[in-house]
């Protein structure tokens, strides 16, 4: 489709992880005032190349399915305005790093969620649906710490940005460890010991080198770096208490 008016020059990484069909395609996309990177990708699929694959769902930054690498940085594309990331009228868009590519811009997120589960990432109850909801002081330090990390949309931006994940495939990664930290601070959680055990294992929190790309890039402004430091302290304290 010929475009009149201002345009963007967009390079899109195509293909699958097996590498057989990897290539970069170039497109010219009409530019608009309110335009997100997801809109650019959508325009290409709808108007220029019907075979382009990408993933999105909510389109407002809640589901964390639309993350891609944009001009070298992992971002949620539905909430990334083009003007914020464009360089010299150019966009380069690829799949997230550190995860297998299914096709084009869609990655397989299973390893990310497998690690989420492996880091002990789910609540173990201390009460049932027949018990009243317990009172929790919203100012209790544990609750404050847990609240600070709980609103993760599991978008994998941090995971894709972490060089430790890139170098060490066993490393659980920032998001899973951030969730583990919220569980350690969950006053209702029955298995704090279990969480501290798994995050002390070979893929655990001690592999983190505080590189901080996770905290710098989390679109929800969470701070996995500090959460992981919290886990390091908690496990160290426990080691010295000899339990």
């Amino acid at each position: 489709m010929p475009a009149s008016g201002p345009t963007l020059s967009v390079a899109v990484h195509r293909g699958t992880s097996d590498g057989s069909t990897l290539r970069v395609d170039h497109f010219t996309v009409p530019a608009h005032d309110s335009q997100t990177v997801l809109d650019v990708v959508t325009w290409i699929q709808q108007n220029a190349d019907a075979t382009l694959t990408y993933r999105f769902a909510c389109r407002v930054g809640m589901c964390g399915s639309c993350a891609m690498t944009v001009n070298g940085v992992a971002r949620w594309t539905c909430r990334t305005h083009v003007s914020k990331v464009i360089r010299d009228g150019r966009l380069e868009i690829g799949p997230l790093r550190n995860l297998p590519v299914i096709k084009d811009l869609a990655v397989d997120m299973d390893p990310f969620f497998d690690k989420w589960a492996a880091a002990g990432g789910s609540h173990a109850p201390t009460a049932t649906r027949y018990d009243p909801v317990v009172d929790i002081d919203p100012q209790a330090p544990e609750r404050v710490a847990a609240n600070a990390g709980i609103e993760c949309i599991n978008c994998s931006v941090c995971y894709a940005s972490c060089d430790t994940v890139a170098g060490n495939p066993a490393y659980l990664g920032p998001a899973a460890l951030n969730r583990a930290w919220t569980l350690v601070n969950d006053l209702k959680h029955a298995d704090t010991k279990g969480v501290l055990d798994v995050v002390s294992g070979s893929g655990g929190c001690h592999n983190c080198h505080s590189i901080g790309s996770c905290t710098a890039l989390c679109p929800n402004e969470l701070d996995p770096l500090s959460s992981i430091a919290g886990l390091k302290r908690a496990t160290t304290r426990r080691a010295f208490r000899g339990r």
């Binding site: 070298g72 690829g94 940005s161 060089d163 505080s210 901080g212 790309s213 710098a216 770096l225 500090s226």
Partner: protein, 113 residues
């Protein structure tokens, strides 16, 4: 694609710390070896130390102290980050560490020349 996320200060601090650690680890055996000469062949040690007057060797020496200083302050930064539950201004900490390292190695350089 160039990984632009790597231009953030904490990433640079990490790489600097790693490279300095690696440099130290590679240099250390050499350093020990040279000092070990004091036991068997003190004259060769002296010979070696004479070289150290040479500009090249001076530069290398300065480099080592620099590495040690960088690694020391980088390491202190990490230890503070991990063991003291300080809130977020990690970047300031990183900058401070670099400044400290520059100070020490600068001092050393001044003394050496």
């Amino acid at each position: 694609m160039r990984l632009a996320q790597r231009s953030q200060p904490l990433w640079l601090a990490h790489v600097l710390h790693r490279l300095s650690g690696l440099g130290l680890a590679l240099f250390l055996p050499l350093h020990f070896y040279v000092l070990g000469m004091a036991m068997s062949q003190p004259e060769r040690l002296d010979g070696f130390l004479h070289w150290s007057e040479a500009p090249m060797v001076k530069l290398a020496e300065f480099g080592l102290v620099f590495l040690l200083a960088v690694h020391l302050f980088g390491g202190l930064r990490l230890l503070v980050l991990e063991f003291l539950p300080w809130p977020a201004p990690h970047k300031t900490l990183a900058a401070g560490a670099v400044a400290g390292a520059a100070l020490v190695s600068g001092l050393f350089l001044l003394n050496a020349v």
